[in-house]
């Protein structure tokens, strides 16, 4: 599959990479701009003489960490300078045709977020910035996005655009609540949810591979259909029989020993079964997609279906299977909204999370690992919005809510890294 075929139709851009090395300055410039803004607004903008208190402790910790109080202005300036230095390092690498590792954006992000939190918490002696609480809710809010983005990745890697993530999440949420309420056990909801998502995925797959309908059209229309169907049954059957829509919750299952580690313990190892499933699913698909024979085949189908077909891979069968599998995973993510959050089903309760998941998939460059990182970032932005609302920050919550969308626009416009979708995405394979 890795043979370089030079077709007459694809002329100049098929040159070897050594010849066409370009210095990519967009990334470093973007990082530097944000770091300078951080320095000006959060660093210089913080009133001097104020302090910010961070608390990390929770009751179940094995070791109790004390709360940390730092001088706001100094800390915010220092963190911004660190971010600026990282931007400089990225520029240095770019000048030498190299790309920074994954650690750089992570450390950079932590520095800028730290500066933001320090600024937001400055001079508020009565409230602490709850780091552990912030991270816990960030992970929790990221769960549906991770499942959704993973679903999108699986579909798009095989060449099917999955705009219907929103519908799959909603269908999953609906069936999880319905079946769990019928049986009276929240865990049964986790089995029903992926089935519902898979059904939506199957419709998408059939229309895309059998009838060659534009995949974006099917996706958009399927979202509408699922919204209509779930809302219809919610207002008729479910409201006539309240016992079909109860609020059942999955209880948290703390992992012994691990859950008592400060900060990491309560954030990662004191969650419910759906979150643990998410860890497994992400790791499994990261390995499967890039290290297994199955993954190689899927990617071949998504990049060059004709070549894949020539070596005997069933293109459309692979696509259908992947789309159904992706739908099932998104459906499982939908269980987050009802059984995993302990809520009953509500009309249109996914509220556009499927589209944010789509954004996370793009920002994560169509890989499970990247999707995880991007979804966590978006989850963090969401959690931050809630936290800043509690401490009463000056930033309008609407702008924080916009963040995932703006980040995605920057990503697809190539301002933050380069995002390249699978080559054969969206084109039906006709023999």
């Amino acid at each position: 599959m890795t043979t370089t075929t030079v077709t007459p139709g694809a002329p100049s851009d098929a040159l070897p990479e050594e010849v066409l090395r370009t210095k990519s300055w967009k990334g470093p410039i973007g990082l530097a701009v944000v770091a300078v803004i951080s320095l000006l607004v959060f660093g210089i903008g913080t009133p001097s003489g104020t302090q910010t208190t961070f608390s990390v402790a929770t009751s179940s910790d094995f070791v109790h960490l004390p709360t940390a109080t730092v001088p706001s202005k100094l800390a915010a300036i220092l963190l911004s300078v660190v971010a600026l230095a990282l931007a400089g390092y990225a520029a240095y690498l770019a000048n030498r045709y190299r790309k920074p590792g994954i650690w750089l954006p992570i450390v950079y992000g932590m520095a800028v977020m730290g500066a933001l939190l320090t600024w937001a918490g400055a001079g508020r002696d009565s409230t602490n910035i709850q780091i552990t609480g912030l991270l816990t809710s960030a992970l929790f809010l990221a769960v549906p996005l991770i499942f959704g983005a993973l679903a999108g990745t699986l579909c798009e890697r095989s060449g099917i655009i999955n705009i219907a993530i929103e519908g799959q999440l909603l269908a999953g949420a609906f069936f999880a609540a319905l079946v769990a309420s019928m049986v009276g056990n929240a865990y049964v909801g986790l089995i029903a949810a992926p089935l519902a998502g898979a059904l939506v995925g199957a419709i998408l797959a059939i229309f895309a591979t059998k009838y060659w309908v534009n995949q974006i059209v099917v996706g958009v229309v399927l979202n509408m259909l699922v919204v209509g169907l779930t809302s219809f049954f919610f207002s008729t059957v479910m409201s006539d029989n309240p016992e079909l829509n109860q609020s059942l919750g999955l209880e948290a299952l703390p992992i012994p020993v691990l859950s008592t580690i400060p900060v990491i313990g309560p954030v990662l190892f004191d969650q419910n079964l759906l979150v643990y499933t998410m860890y497994v699913v992400v790791i499994v698909f990261q390995i499967m997609l890039f290290k297994s024979r199955w993954g190689l085949r899927v990617r071949a189908v998504g990049e060059h279906p004709k070549a894949a077909d020539t070596v005997g891979i069933k293109v459309n069968r692979t696509r259908v299977r992947n789309t159904i599998l992706g739908g099932a995973i998104a459906g499982l993510g939908g269980a987050f909204f009802t059984v995993a959050s302990g809520l009953a089903f509500g009309k249109e309760m996914t509220a556009g999370k499927g589209y944010i998941a789509l954004a996370a998939m793009i920002l994560g460059r169509w890989s499970p690992r990247g999707a995880l990182a991007a979804a966590l970032l978006f989850g963090f932005a969401d959690a931050l919005r809630v936290q800043l609302g509690i401490i009463g920050s000056d930033i309008p919550s609407q702008f924080l809510a916009m963040f995932p969308y703006l980040a995605t626009i920057f990503a697809v416009a190539g301002l933050v890294g380069h995002s390249r979708p699978p080559a054969a995405e969206g084109t039906p394979y006709k023999k």
């Binding site: 009838y211 099917v218 958009v220 509408m224 589209y355 954004a359 969308y405």
Partner: protein, 405 residues
């Protein structure tokens, strides 16, 4: 005639009679597919209505002892629902006055107005190969700008409405320009950018409505002041009907779009860019310019859909000003095959479905959401003619090998 063809048929089976030919043409036509898609969707809707009906469920418990009860309950539920839809959308026979009888249809046209505008814009985009999902955001920004002109400025009669309409178009055009320029300059996929911009627009409006300049006095809810009477579309048929002049403007725009796409050089360039960008570039067209212009025109039309809402039906700005028009308009444009006339017809159909919502709720006790289901299934069926043909056992046309979106 039939006798001669019957006699001739065994010898020359490849030349069918005129009547057969006409019949075959009718069966193969895409209009029949559209009609059958609507019929199939109504059937699916009927199944859902029957399923949700309590009496049907009660009667089905003893289905095998008395199946007639179930069937009559199904019939009552389904016919009740569709009668309610008809009376809510087209003609209400329960009222004595003529005005009251045709009022539902004027409501349908009112609901169709923003759908026509936005559907026309999306249709231009589809024909130019741009999949613009961003009508929702463009409507919101258009309505915001035009609405702000409407309630914050105070201009004389005539001028105010004109300026407010231009404001709406401008707002939508700006929101369409962003994905256009990003696509032209960086290759960013317009589907993703427009989806994201929808949410940015909604959050922006939410922020603006929290500001004093946009807040109605004495109100805590995010709602703007009412736009000046000078800036409102005048009513078309007098006070008893909700239909306003926005509908006429929408029809005029449909004519304008037809001229643009079919008769003007610019429209030819749009279509060429959509059909084959490489060929268009080779022919000396500026593809980047075309891409941006398509999105600007589409955005402006979506912005006008916002004007139908904020200057016509709603008369103020709320977070719900765009409703689901942006997404409904996608289905309108698809159903109308991106052609102006088709878009107008499809908009009236979906406007009727929307207008029937309240009646459906009151008279048949059904939630409005059934309308979404019918709408979505119509589009799904229309997008896949082979599916409809196989359901109704229609012959496949010989020439139609490819399935268009």
């Amino acid at each position: 005639m039939s006798a001669t063809t019957e006699a001739a048929a065994p010898q020359k089976p490849q030349t069918p009679s005129r009547a057969q030919q006409v019949l075959r043409e009718i069966l193969e036509s895409s209009t029949l597919v559209v009609i059958m898609a609507i019929v199939a969707s109504m059937l699916i809707g009927a199944i859902l209505i029957a399923f949700a009906d309590e009496e049907v469920r009660a009667a089905s418990a003893y289905f095998f002892s008395r199946p007639g009860d179930t069937l009559s309950a199904i019939w009552e539920a389904v016919s009740g629902a569709y009668t309610a839809m008809f009376q809510g959308a087209i003609y209400n026979s329960n009222v004595d006055s003529f005005a009251g009888q045709i009022k539902p249809f004027t409501q349908t046209l009112t609901q169709a107005t923003p759908l026509i505008f936005a559907g026309l814009g999306l249709g231009i985009g589809f024909r130019a190969g741009m999949f613009n999902i961003g009508a929702q955001g463009q409507i919101i920004i258009g309505a915001t700008l035009g609405g702000w002109v409407g309630f914050a400025w105070h201009l004389p009669v005539g001028l105010h409405l004109l300026v407010a309409i231009i404001g709406c178009a401008l707002g939508g055009a700006i929101w369409g320009f962003i994905p256009g320029i990003l696509k032209a300059k960086t290759g960013a996929h317009e589907v993703i950018v427009t989806i994201m911009l929808n949410y940015v627009a909604l959050n922006l409006l939410s922020y603006l409505l929290s500001l004093e300049a946009f807040q109605r006095e004495g109100q805590d809810n995010p709602i703007s002041p009412t736009v000046d009477t000078n800036a409102q579309y005048p009513l078309l048929l007098g006070d008893q009907f909700p239909l306003h002049w926005g509908f006429v403007l929408a029809l005029a725009c449909a004519g304008g779009v037809w001229w643009l796409m079919e008769r003007s050089t610019l429209g030819f360039e749009f279509r060429a860019v959509g059909a084959n960008p490489r060929a268009a570039r080779t022919a000396g067209m500026n593809v980047a310019k075309g891409t941006v212009l398509v999105m600007v025109v589409a955005g402006a039309l979506a912005g006008l859909a916002g004007s139908a809402q904020v200057l016509g039906t709603e008369k103020n700005l709320t977070l719900d000003v765009a409703g689901s028009i942006g997404f409904d308009a996608i289905t309108v444009a698809l159903l109308g095959r991106s052609r102006p006339l088709g878009t107008v017809m499809a908009a009236i159909l979906f406007g009727g479905l929307k207008a029937s919502g309240p009646t459906l709720q009151v008279q048949a006790g059904l939630p409005v959401d059934i309308v979404f289901v019918i709408q979505a299934t119509i589009v799904l069926f229309i997008a896949a003619p082979p599916l409809v043909r196989s359901i109704f056992r229609l012959p496949a046309p010989a020439h139609e090998k490819e399935v268009a979106a």
